[in-house]
Amino acid sequence: MAYSDKVIDHYTNPRNVGTLDKSSHKVGTGLVGAPECGDVMRLQIQVDENNIITDAKFKTFGCGSAIASSSLATEWLKGKTVDDAMKIDNMDIVEELALPPVKIHCSVLAEDAIKAAINDFRVKNGMEPIALEKTHH
Protein backbone atom coordinates (compact mmCIF):
# COMPACT_ATOMS: atom_id res chain seq x y z
CA MET A 1 0.00 0.00 0.00
CA ALA A 2 1.26 3.43 -0.84
CA TYR A 3 1.23 5.78 2.11
CA SER A 4 1.19 9.54 1.78
CA ASP A 5 4.36 11.43 2.63
CA LYS A 6 2.68 12.82 5.72
CA VAL A 7 1.87 9.37 7.02
CA ILE A 8 5.42 8.25 6.41
CA ASP A 9 6.77 11.34 8.13
CA HIS A 10 4.65 10.84 11.27
CA TYR A 11 5.37 7.14 11.22
CA THR A 12 9.14 7.55 10.97
CA ASN A 13 9.38 10.53 13.29
CA PRO A 14 6.36 10.24 15.52
CA ARG A 15 5.70 13.34 17.64
CA ASN A 16 4.92 13.18 21.33
CA VAL A 17 5.49 9.52 21.96
CA GLY A 18 5.38 8.77 25.64
CA THR A 19 3.54 8.46 28.87
CA LEU A 20 2.06 11.02 31.26
CA ASP A 21 1.35 10.33 34.91
CA LYS A 22 -1.94 8.51 34.75
CA SER A 23 -2.67 9.10 38.43
CA SER A 24 -2.44 12.90 38.19
CA HIS A 25 -5.82 14.65 38.27
CA LYS A 26 -4.55 16.94 35.51
CA VAL A 27 -4.08 14.00 33.15
CA GLY A 28 -6.76 12.29 31.13
CA THR A 29 -6.02 8.90 29.57
CA GLY A 30 -7.85 7.22 26.72
CA LEU A 31 -7.02 3.64 25.84
CA VAL A 32 -9.05 2.32 22.94
CA GLY A 33 -8.88 -0.57 20.54
CA ALA A 34 -10.21 -1.07 17.03
CA PRO A 35 -12.02 -4.38 16.82
CA GLU A 36 -11.56 -4.41 13.03
CA CYS A 37 -7.86 -5.04 13.26
CA GLY A 38 -6.89 -5.43 16.90
CA ASP A 39 -4.95 -2.19 16.91
CA VAL A 40 -4.70 -0.28 20.19
CA MET A 41 -4.12 3.40 20.89
CA ARG A 42 -3.37 5.18 24.12
CA LEU A 43 -3.65 8.95 24.14
CA GLN A 44 -3.09 11.20 27.14
CA ILE A 45 -3.68 14.88 27.72
CA GLN A 46 -2.50 17.18 30.47
CA VAL A 47 -4.82 20.09 31.23
CA ASP A 48 -4.08 23.30 33.14
CA GLU A 49 -6.38 25.38 35.34
CA ASN A 50 -7.63 27.36 32.30
CA ASN A 51 -8.85 24.19 30.66
CA ILE A 52 -6.05 24.33 28.11
CA ILE A 53 -4.24 21.20 26.98
CA THR A 54 -0.58 21.84 27.76
CA ASP A 55 0.77 18.45 26.83
CA ALA A 56 -0.33 15.38 24.90
CA LYS A 57 1.36 12.00 24.50
CA PHE A 58 0.52 8.78 22.73
CA LYS A 59 1.52 5.22 22.20
CA THR A 60 -0.02 3.14 19.46
CA PHE A 61 0.09 -0.51 18.56
CA GLY A 62 -1.10 -0.34 15.02
CA CYS A 63 -0.59 0.25 11.36
CA GLY A 64 1.25 3.21 9.90
CA SER A 65 -1.99 5.16 9.53
CA ALA A 66 -2.95 4.62 13.15
CA ILE A 67 0.48 5.73 14.34
CA ALA A 68 0.33 8.79 12.10
CA SER A 69 -3.25 9.62 13.17
CA SER A 70 -2.35 9.56 16.84
CA SER A 71 0.88 11.46 16.32
CA LEU A 72 -1.00 14.14 14.41
CA ALA A 73 -3.75 14.23 17.04
CA THR A 74 -1.24 15.00 19.79
CA GLU A 75 0.14 17.87 17.72
CA TRP A 76 -3.33 19.29 17.22
CA LEU A 77 -4.32 18.86 20.85
CA LYS A 78 -1.51 20.88 22.34
CA GLY A 79 -2.64 24.44 23.08
CA LYS A 80 -6.32 23.73 22.44
CA THR A 81 -9.00 24.09 25.09
CA VAL A 82 -10.67 20.88 26.10
CA ASP A 83 -13.87 22.08 24.47
CA ASP A 84 -12.13 22.68 21.15
CA ALA A 85 -10.37 19.35 21.41
CA MET A 86 -13.76 17.71 21.66
CA LYS A 87 -14.52 19.06 18.20
CA ILE A 88 -11.69 17.27 16.43
CA ASP A 89 -13.31 15.09 13.82
CA ASN A 90 -11.76 11.97 12.37
CA MET A 91 -12.40 13.28 8.87
CA ASP A 92 -10.03 16.17 9.56
CA ILE A 93 -7.34 13.60 10.18
CA VAL A 94 -8.28 11.63 7.07
CA GLU A 95 -7.97 14.78 5.02
CA GLU A 96 -4.69 15.94 6.51
CA LEU A 97 -3.03 12.55 6.10
CA ALA A 98 -4.75 11.63 2.83
CA LEU A 99 -5.87 8.29 4.23
CA PRO A 100 -7.49 5.86 1.80
CA PRO A 101 -10.96 4.47 2.61
CA VAL A 102 -9.69 1.25 4.23
CA LYS A 103 -7.70 3.38 6.64
CA ILE A 104 -10.52 5.59 7.83
CA HIS A 105 -11.08 3.44 10.91
CA CYS A 106 -7.51 4.25 11.96
CA SER A 107 -8.50 7.91 12.23
CA VAL A 108 -11.69 6.94 14.05
CA LEU A 109 -9.52 5.25 16.61
CA ALA A 110 -7.66 8.53 17.14
CA GLU A 111 -10.91 10.47 17.56
CA ASP A 112 -12.18 7.89 20.03
CA ALA A 113 -8.92 8.06 21.96
CA ILE A 114 -9.18 11.87 22.24
CA LYS A 115 -12.74 11.66 23.54
CA ALA A 116 -11.89 8.87 25.94
CA ALA A 117 -8.99 10.92 27.30
CA ILE A 118 -11.21 14.00 27.77
CA ASN A 119 -13.85 11.99 29.56
CA ASP A 120 -11.28 10.41 31.82
CA PHE A 121 -10.10 13.90 32.70
CA ARG A 122 -13.67 15.11 33.31
CA VAL A 123 -14.60 12.20 35.55
CA LYS A 124 -11.40 12.60 37.55
CA ASN A 125 -12.30 16.23 38.15
CA GLY A 126 -15.87 15.61 39.20
CA MET A 127 -17.55 16.41 35.88
CA GLU A 128 -20.04 14.30 34.00
CA PRO A 129 -18.57 12.38 31.08
CA ILE A 130 -19.78 13.71 27.76
CA ALA A 131 -22.12 11.27 26.08
CA LEU A 132 -20.45 10.24 22.85
CA GLU A 133 -22.69 10.10 19.87
CA LYS A 134 -21.44 8.28 16.86
CA THR A 135 -20.46 11.35 14.96
CA HIS A 136 -17.64 9.98 12.92
CA HIS A 137 -17.82 8.73 9.40
Binding site: M1, Y3, Y11, P14, V17, T19, L31, V32, G33, A34, P35, E36, C37, G38, D39, V40, M41, R42, K59, T60, F61, G62, C63, G64, A66, I67, V102, K103, H105, V108, L109, D112, A116, K134
Partner: protein
Protein backbone atom coordinates in the same frame (compact mmCIF):
# COMPACT_ATOMS: atom_id res chain seq x y z
CA UNK B 1 24.28 -4.08 -1.76
CA UNK B 2 21.04 -3.28 -3.55
CA UNK B 3 18.10 -2.06 -1.51
CA UNK B 4 15.51 -3.49 -1.03
CA UNK B 5 17.16 -6.77 -0.20
CA UNK B 6 15.44 -9.80 -1.59
CA UNK B 7 14.69 -12.26 1.18
CA UNK B 8 11.58 -13.85 -0.23
CA UNK B 9 13.09 -16.87 -1.95
CA UNK B 10 10.21 -19.11 -0.93
CA UNK B 11 7.89 -17.00 -3.05
CA UNK B 12 10.15 -17.14 -6.05
CA UNK B 13 13.84 -17.08 -6.90
CA UNK B 14 15.78 -15.02 -9.41
CA UNK B 15 16.93 -17.05 -12.41
CA UNK B 16 20.45 -18.32 -12.30
CA UNK B 17 22.39 -16.84 -15.26
CA UNK B 18 23.52 -20.36 -16.18
CA UNK B 19 19.88 -21.37 -16.56
CA UNK B 20 19.13 -18.39 -18.74
CA UNK B 21 22.08 -19.21 -20.91
CA UNK B 22 20.89 -22.78 -21.41
CA UNK B 23 17.43 -21.58 -22.37
CA UNK B 24 18.30 -18.84 -24.84
CA UNK B 25 18.94 -20.95 -27.98
CA UNK B 26 15.53 -22.55 -27.58
CA UNK B 27 13.76 -19.25 -28.16
CA UNK B 28 15.11 -18.74 -31.66
CA UNK B 29 17.65 -21.10 -33.25
CA UNK B 30 16.10 -24.19 -31.73
CA UNK B 31 12.51 -23.07 -31.88
CA UNK B 32 11.00 -26.35 -33.09
CA UNK B 33 7.98 -28.12 -31.70
CA UNK B 34 9.23 -31.08 -29.70
CA UNK B 35 6.33 -33.11 -31.09
CA UNK B 36 7.33 -32.56 -34.74
CA UNK B 37 8.71 -35.92 -35.75
CA UNK B 38 9.40 -35.22 -39.40
CA UNK B 39 12.22 -32.72 -39.41
CA UNK B 40 15.35 -31.69 -37.55
CA UNK B 41 13.68 -28.63 -35.99
CA UNK B 42 11.44 -30.96 -34.03
CA UNK B 43 14.24 -33.39 -33.25
CA UNK B 44 16.48 -30.70 -31.84
CA UNK B 45 13.72 -29.42 -29.59
CA UNK B 46 12.88 -32.94 -28.51
CA UNK B 47 16.51 -33.57 -27.70
CA UNK B 48 16.51 -30.55 -25.41
CA UNK B 49 13.36 -31.80 -23.70
CA UNK B 50 14.69 -35.32 -23.32
CA UNK B 51 17.89 -34.07 -21.78
CA UNK B 52 15.91 -31.90 -19.36
CA UNK B 53 13.76 -34.88 -18.46
CA UNK B 54 16.89 -36.75 -17.45
CA UNK B 55 18.18 -33.80 -15.45
CA UNK B 56 14.90 -33.50 -13.54
CA UNK B 57 14.63 -37.24 -12.98
CA UNK B 58 18.17 -37.45 -11.68
CA UNK B 59 17.59 -34.83 -9.03
CA UNK B 60 14.78 -36.85 -7.44
CA UNK B 61 16.10 -40.34 -8.14
CA UNK B 62 13.43 -41.11 -10.74
CA UNK B 63 13.53 -42.48 -14.26
CA UNK B 64 13.06 -39.95 -17.06
CA UNK B 65 9.93 -41.77 -18.22
CA UNK B 66 8.28 -40.81 -14.96
CA UNK B 67 8.49 -37.04 -15.49
CA UNK B 68 5.47 -35.15 -16.83
CA UNK B 69 6.16 -31.53 -17.67
CA UNK B 70 3.55 -29.00 -16.56
CA UNK B 71 3.14 -25.27 -16.19
CA UNK B 72 4.24 -25.35 -12.56
CA UNK B 73 3.52 -26.87 -9.19
CA UNK B 74 -0.04 -25.59 -9.11
CA UNK B 75 -0.84 -27.58 -12.22
CA UNK B 76 1.13 -30.58 -10.97
CA UNK B 77 -0.82 -30.58 -7.69
CA UNK B 78 -4.11 -30.31 -9.54
CA UNK B 79 -3.21 -33.02 -12.01
CA UNK B 80 -2.07 -35.38 -9.27
CA UNK B 81 -5.05 -34.93 -6.97
CA UNK B 82 -7.86 -34.62 -9.48
CA UNK B 83 -6.19 -37.11 -11.81
CA UNK B 84 -5.82 -39.77 -9.10
CA UNK B 85 -9.36 -39.15 -7.88
CA UNK B 86 -10.73 -39.73 -11.36
CA UNK B 87 -8.47 -42.66 -12.22
CA UNK B 88 -9.02 -44.58 -8.99
CA UNK B 89 -12.65 -43.81 -8.27
CA UNK B 90 -13.60 -47.47 -8.55
CA UNK B 91 -11.24 -48.16 -5.70
CA UNK B 92 -12.33 -45.45 -3.32
CA UNK B 93 -13.11 -41.78 -2.93
CA UNK B 94 -11.19 -40.69 0.13
CA UNK B 95 -8.15 -38.40 0.14
CA UNK B 96 -6.10 -37.35 3.15
CA UNK B 97 -4.12 -34.13 3.27
CA UNK B 98 -3.14 -31.56 5.91
CA UNK B 99 -4.32 -28.09 6.84
CA UNK B 100 -0.90 -26.55 6.16
CA UNK B 101 -0.73 -27.47 2.48
CA UNK B 102 -0.36 -24.89 -0.26
CA UNK B 103 -3.64 -23.58 -1.67
CA UNK B 104 -3.00 -25.52 -4.87
CA UNK B 105 -3.45 -28.75 -2.93
CA UNK B 106 -6.19 -27.51 -0.61
CA UNK B 107 -8.30 -26.08 -3.40
CA UNK B 108 -7.80 -29.11 -5.64
CA UNK B 109 -9.09 -31.16 -2.69
CA UNK B 110 -12.09 -28.82 -2.30
CA UNK B 111 -12.81 -29.42 -5.97
CA UNK B 112 -12.69 -33.17 -5.40
CA UNK B 113 -15.19 -32.74 -2.56
CA UNK B 114 -17.56 -30.99 -4.94
CA UNK B 115 -17.28 -34.02 -7.21
CA UNK B 116 -18.42 -36.26 -4.36
CA UNK B 117 -15.03 -37.15 -2.90
CA UNK B 118 -14.29 -37.20 0.80
CA UNK B 119 -11.27 -35.33 2.08
CA UNK B 120 -9.71 -35.40 5.53
CA UNK B 121 -7.65 -32.32 6.41
CA UNK B 122 -5.29 -33.47 9.12
CA UNK B 123 -4.26 -30.96 11.80
CA UNK B 124 -0.57 -30.54 12.57
CA UNK B 125 1.19 -30.44 15.91
CA UNK B 126 2.31 -27.08 17.34
CA UNK B 127 5.64 -27.54 15.57
CA UNK B 128 3.91 -27.96 12.21
CA UNK B 129 4.55 -31.67 11.85
CA UNK B 130 1.84 -34.22 11.13
CA UNK B 131 1.07 -36.67 13.93
CA UNK B 132 1.62 -40.10 12.39
CA UNK B 133 -0.89 -41.73 14.74
CA UNK B 134 -3.53 -39.26 13.65
CA UNK B 135 -2.71 -40.04 10.02
CA UNK B 136 -2.90 -43.77 10.63
CA UNK B 137 -6.25 -43.37 12.37
CA UNK B 138 -7.64 -41.40 9.43
CA UNK B 139 -6.84 -44.12 6.88
CA UNK B 140 -9.87 -46.06 5.65
CA UNK B 141 -10.34 -48.79 3.06
CA UNK B 142 -11.71 -46.03 0.83
CA UNK B 143 -8.52 -43.97 1.04
CA UNK B 144 -6.91 -43.78 -2.39
CA UNK B 145 -4.44 -40.97 -1.83
CA UNK B 146 -2.44 -39.32 0.91
CA UNK B 147 -1.13 -35.92 -0.18
CA UNK B 148 1.27 -34.30 2.26
CA UNK B 149 3.82 -31.66 1.39
CA UNK B 150 7.54 -32.24 1.76
CA UNK B 151 8.65 -28.85 3.08
CA UNK B 152 6.27 -26.09 4.07
CA UNK B 153 6.44 -22.82 2.15
CA UNK B 154 5.79 -20.57 5.17
CA UNK B 155 7.67 -22.18 8.02
CA UNK B 156 9.95 -24.58 6.16
CA UNK B 157 9.00 -27.57 8.31
CA UNK B 158 9.86 -30.92 6.72
CA UNK B 159 7.35 -33.72 7.19
CA UNK B 160 8.41 -37.29 8.00
CA UNK B 161 7.90 -38.32 4.39
CA UNK B 162 9.19 -41.90 4.60
CA UNK B 163 6.98 -42.72 7.56
CA UNK B 164 3.96 -41.08 5.94
CA UNK B 165 4.52 -42.99 2.71
CA UNK B 166 4.80 -46.26 4.63
CA UNK B 167 1.48 -45.64 6.37
CA UNK B 168 -0.23 -44.76 3.09
CA UNK B 169 1.10 -47.89 1.40
CA UNK B 170 0.25 -50.14 4.32
CA UNK B 171 -3.37 -49.16 3.79
CA UNK B 172 -3.25 -49.53 0.03
CA UNK B 173 -3.25 -45.81 -0.79
CA UNK B 174 -0.91 -43.86 -3.05
CA UNK B 175 1.36 -41.21 -1.62
CA UNK B 176 1.72 -37.84 -3.29
CA UNK B 177 3.90 -34.98 -2.07
CA UNK B 178 4.07 -31.34 -3.04
CA UNK B 179 7.85 -31.01 -2.91
CA UNK B 180 7.98 -27.56 -4.50
CA UNK B 181 9.95 -26.08 -1.62
CA UNK B 182 12.12 -29.10 -0.90
CA UNK B 183 13.37 -30.30 -4.28
CA UNK B 184 16.79 -28.86 -5.00
CA UNK B 185 17.18 -27.68 -1.41
CA UNK B 186 17.45 -30.97 0.44
CA UNK B 187 17.94 -34.53 -0.83
CA UNK B 188 14.67 -35.94 -2.17
CA UNK B 189 14.58 -39.47 -3.57
CA UNK B 190 11.29 -40.90 -4.75
CA UNK B 191 12.43 -44.47 -4.16
CA UNK B 192 13.99 -44.24 -0.72
CA UNK B 193 11.17 -41.91 0.35
CA UNK B 194 8.41 -44.07 -1.13
CA UNK B 195 6.82 -41.32 -3.19
CA UNK B 196 4.27 -42.19 -5.90
CA UNK B 197 3.60 -38.69 -7.17
CA UNK B 198 5.61 -35.52 -6.63
CA UNK B 199 5.06 -31.91 -7.68
CA UNK B 200 7.92 -29.50 -8.32
CA UNK B 201 8.37 -26.08 -9.87
CA UNK B 202 11.25 -24.40 -11.70
CA UNK B 203 10.91 -20.90 -10.32
CA UNK B 204 11.64 -21.98 -6.75
CA UNK B 205 15.00 -23.39 -7.80
CA UNK B 206 16.42 -20.50 -9.83
CA UNK B 207 14.66 -21.55 -13.00
CA UNK B 208 11.97 -19.80 -15.04
CA UNK B 209 8.37 -19.20 -13.98
CA UNK B 210 5.51 -21.11 -15.54
CA UNK B 211 7.15 -24.51 -15.79
CA UNK B 212 7.23 -27.47 -13.47
CA UNK B 213 6.83 -31.20 -13.39
CA UNK B 214 4.84 -34.01 -11.91
CA UNK B 215 6.63 -37.22 -11.11
CA UNK B 216 4.34 -40.20 -11.67
CA UNK B 217 5.66 -43.61 -10.55
CA UNK B 218 5.81 -46.24 -13.28
CA UNK B 219 6.91 -49.31 -11.35
CA UNK B 220 5.78 -50.79 -8.06
CA UNK B 221 3.04 -49.65 -8.46
CA UNK B 222 2.41 -48.28 -11.91
CA UNK B 223 0.51 -45.09 -11.19
CA UNK B 224 -1.78 -43.34 -13.64
CA UNK B 225 -3.60 -40.08 -13.53
CA UNK B 226 -6.51 -39.00 -15.68
CA UNK B 227 -5.52 -36.04 -17.85
CA UNK B 228 -7.11 -32.78 -16.78
CA UNK B 229 -6.63 -31.10 -20.13
CA UNK B 230 -7.73 -32.63 -23.42
CA UNK B 231 -5.72 -32.33 -26.58
CA UNK B 232 -2.85 -33.87 -28.48
CA UNK B 233 -1.96 -36.48 -25.89
CA UNK B 234 1.48 -35.18 -25.03
CA UNK B 235 3.40 -36.41 -22.00
CA UNK B 236 2.16 -39.99 -22.25
CA UNK B 237 -1.39 -38.79 -22.55
CA UNK B 238 -1.38 -37.21 -19.10
CA UNK B 239 -0.80 -33.60 -20.08
CA UNK B 240 -1.66 -32.29 -23.51
CA UNK B 241 -0.23 -29.10 -24.88
CA UNK B 242 2.80 -28.19 -26.98
CA UNK B 243 5.78 -28.38 -24.68
CA UNK B 244 7.29 -25.18 -23.33
CA UNK B 245 10.72 -26.15 -24.65
CA UNK B 246 12.80 -23.20 -23.39
CA UNK B 247 11.10 -23.42 -20.00
CA UNK B 248 11.64 -27.15 -19.77
CA UNK B 249 15.30 -26.78 -20.76
CA UNK B 250 15.59 -24.15 -18.03
CA UNK B 251 13.96 -26.44 -15.47
CA UNK B 252 16.38 -29.19 -16.43
CA UNK B 253 19.40 -26.94 -16.06
CA UNK B 254 18.09 -25.59 -12.77
CA UNK B 255 17.75 -29.15 -11.46
CA UNK B 256 21.25 -30.03 -12.58
CA UNK B 257 22.79 -27.04 -10.82
CA UNK B 258 20.71 -27.60 -7.69
CA UNK B 259 21.86 -31.21 -7.55
CA UNK B 260 25.51 -30.22 -7.84
CA UNK B 261 25.40 -27.38 -5.35
CA UNK B 262 22.80 -28.57 -2.88
CA UNK B 263 25.12 -29.87 -0.24
CA UNK B 264 27.37 -26.84 0.01
CA UNK B 265 24.48 -24.41 -0.45
CA UNK B 266 22.43 -26.03 2.29
CA UNK B 267 25.36 -25.64 4.67
CA UNK B 268 26.01 -22.04 3.69
CA UNK B 269 22.35 -21.06 3.90
CA UNK B 270 21.61 -22.78 7.17
CA UNK B 271 24.63 -21.04 8.71
CA UNK B 272 23.32 -17.67 7.53
CA UNK B 273 19.78 -18.52 8.58
CA UNK B 274 20.94 -19.59 12.03
CA UNK B 275 22.85 -16.36 12.40
CA UNK B 276 19.77 -14.36 11.49
CA UNK B 277 17.59 -16.37 13.80
CA UNK B 278 20.00 -16.26 16.72
CA UNK B 279 20.28 -12.47 16.44
CA UNK B 280 16.58 -11.82 16.10
CA UNK B 281 15.55 -14.13 18.91
CA UNK B 282 17.76 -12.05 21.19
CA UNK B 283 14.92 -9.58 21.04
CA UNK B 284 12.49 -10.13 23.93
CA UNK B 285 9.28 -11.94 23.13
CA UNK B 286 10.29 -13.22 19.72
CA UNK B 287 9.56 -16.76 18.71
CA UNK B 288 10.59 -19.08 15.91
CA UNK B 289 7.63 -20.78 14.28
CA UNK B 290 7.72 -24.45 13.42
CA UNK B 291 10.02 -27.32 14.23
CA UNK B 292 13.62 -26.10 14.14
CA UNK B 293 15.23 -29.48 13.64
CA UNK B 294 13.24 -30.74 10.71
CA UNK B 295 13.36 -27.67 8.56
CA UNK B 296 14.51 -26.46 5.16
CA UNK B 297 17.93 -24.81 5.44
CA UNK B 298 16.96 -21.42 4.04
CA UNK B 299 13.81 -20.38 5.87
CA UNK B 300 13.22 -18.66 9.19
CA UNK B 301 9.75 -17.66 10.31
CA UNK B 302 9.78 -15.46 13.39
CA UNK B 303 6.99 -13.81 15.37
CA UNK B 304 7.53 -10.59 17.26
CA UNK B 305 5.00 -10.18 20.03
CA UNK B 306 3.54 -6.73 20.81
CA UNK B 307 4.44 -5.45 17.38
CA UNK B 308 1.71 -4.81 14.85
CA UNK B 309 2.16 -6.61 11.55
CA UNK B 310 1.40 -3.86 9.08
CA UNK B 311 3.47 -1.31 10.94
CA UNK B 312 6.27 -3.84 10.99
CA UNK B 313 6.14 -4.32 7.23
CA UNK B 314 6.23 -0.57 6.79
CA UNK B 315 9.32 -0.30 8.98
CA UNK B 316 10.96 -3.08 7.02
CA UNK B 317 10.40 -1.66 3.59
CA UNK B 318 14.10 -2.09 2.76
CA UNK B 319 13.67 -5.83 3.05
CA UNK B 320 11.56 -7.83 0.63
CA UNK B 321 10.10 -10.38 3.01
CA UNK B 322 6.70 -11.98 3.57
CA UNK B 323 4.53 -11.34 6.58
CA UNK B 324 1.98 -13.54 8.24
CA UNK B 325 -0.81 -11.49 6.79
CA UNK B 326 -2.05 -10.03 3.57
CA UNK B 327 -1.77 -6.42 4.61
CA UNK B 328 -3.72 -4.76 1.85
CA UNK B 329 -7.11 -4.28 3.43
CA UNK B 330 -8.69 -3.41 6.74
CA UNK B 331 -9.85 -6.99 7.18
CA UNK B 332 -6.47 -8.62 7.49
CA UNK B 333 -6.42 -12.36 6.98
CA UNK B 334 -3.78 -13.95 9.14
CA UNK B 335 -1.82 -16.85 7.68
CA UNK B 336 -3.76 -20.12 7.97
CA UNK B 337 -0.50 -22.02 8.31
CA UNK B 338 0.56 -20.04 11.38
CA UNK B 339 -2.95 -20.23 12.83
CA UNK B 340 -2.91 -24.00 12.46
CA UNK B 341 0.15 -24.05 14.72
CA UNK B 342 -2.01 -22.38 17.34
CA UNK B 343 -0.78 -18.81 16.91
CA UNK B 344 -3.23 -16.03 17.77
CA UNK B 345 -4.25 -13.66 14.99
CA UNK B 346 -2.05 -10.97 16.51
CA UNK B 347 1.03 -13.10 16.61
CA UNK B 348 0.41 -14.43 13.11
CA UNK B 349 0.20 -10.86 11.84
CA UNK B 350 3.48 -9.92 13.42
CA UNK B 351 5.36 -12.82 11.90
CA UNK B 352 7.98 -12.47 9.22
CA UNK B 353 9.24 -15.11 6.85
CA UNK B 354 12.85 -14.66 5.85
CA UNK B 355 13.62 -16.75 2.78
CA UNK B 356 17.32 -16.86 1.94
CA UNK B 357 18.60 -17.96 -1.42
CA UNK B 358 21.54 -18.74 -3.65
CA UNK B 359 22.34 -15.07 -4.14
CA UNK B 360 21.93 -13.98 -0.52
CA UNK B 361 25.16 -12.70 0.99
CA UNK B 362 26.25 -12.46 4.60
CA UNK B 363 26.32 -8.70 4.26
CA UNK B 364 22.65 -8.76 3.31
CA UNK B 365 21.78 -10.97 6.24
CA UNK B 366 23.62 -8.60 8.59
CA UNK B 367 21.69 -5.70 7.16
CA UNK B 368 18.41 -7.59 7.52
CA UNK B 369 19.20 -8.25 11.18
CA UNK B 370 19.88 -4.57 11.76
CA UNK B 371 16.73 -3.37 9.96
CA UNK B 372 14.51 -5.88 11.73
CA UNK B 373 15.90 -5.15 15.17
CA UNK B 374 15.46 -1.44 14.61
CA UNK B 375 11.92 -1.88 13.34
CA UNK B 376 10.82 -4.05 16.23
CA UNK B 377 12.43 -1.75 18.77
CA UNK B 378 10.91 1.37 17.18
CA UNK B 379 7.44 -0.13 17.13
CA UNK B 380 7.68 -1.39 20.68
CA UNK B 381 8.72 2.03 21.88
CA UNK B 382 5.51 3.24 20.27
CA UNK B 383 3.39 0.41 21.58
CA UNK B 384 1.14 0.83 24.62
CA UNK B 385 0.85 -2.96 24.75
CA UNK B 386 4.58 -3.38 25.12
CA UNK B 387 4.61 -0.85 27.96
CA UNK B 388 1.69 -2.57 29.65
CA UNK B 389 3.36 -5.93 29.21
CA UNK B 390 6.58 -4.59 30.72
CA UNK B 391 4.65 -3.20 33.67
CA UNK B 392 2.67 -6.39 34.06
CA UNK B 393 -0.66 -4.68 33.36
CA UNK B 394 -3.59 -6.76 32.21
CA UNK B 395 -4.24 -6.11 28.54
CA UNK B 396 -7.94 -6.70 29.15
CA UNK B 397 -8.25 -3.16 30.50
CA UNK B 398 -8.43 -1.90 26.91
CA UNK B 399 -11.75 -0.47 25.94
CA UNK B 400 -12.77 -1.82 22.56
CA UNK B 401 -14.65 0.84 20.67
CA UNK B 402 -17.90 -0.13 19.05
CA UNK B 403 -18.41 1.17 15.58
Amino acid sequence: MNIPIYLDNNATTPMDPRVLEAMLPYFNEKFGNAASRNHPFGWVAEEGVDYAREQVAKLIGASEKEIIFTSGATESDNLAIKGVFEMYKEKGNHIITTVTEHKAVLDACKHVEKLGGKVTYLPVKVDGIVDLDVLEAAMTPETILVSIMYGNNEIGVIQPIKEIAAIAHKHGALFMTDATQAVGKIPVDVNTDGIDLLALSAHKIYGPKGVGALYVRRKGPRVKVTAQMDGGGHERGMRSGTLNVPGIVGLGKACEIAGQEMESEAKRLSTLRDKLEASLTQLDESYVNGNVEHRLPHVANISFKYVEGEGLMMAMKDLAVSSGSACTSASLEPSYVLKSLGLSDDLAHSSIRFGLGRFTTEEEVDYAIEVTKKAVTHLRELSPLWEMFKEGIDLDSIEWAEH
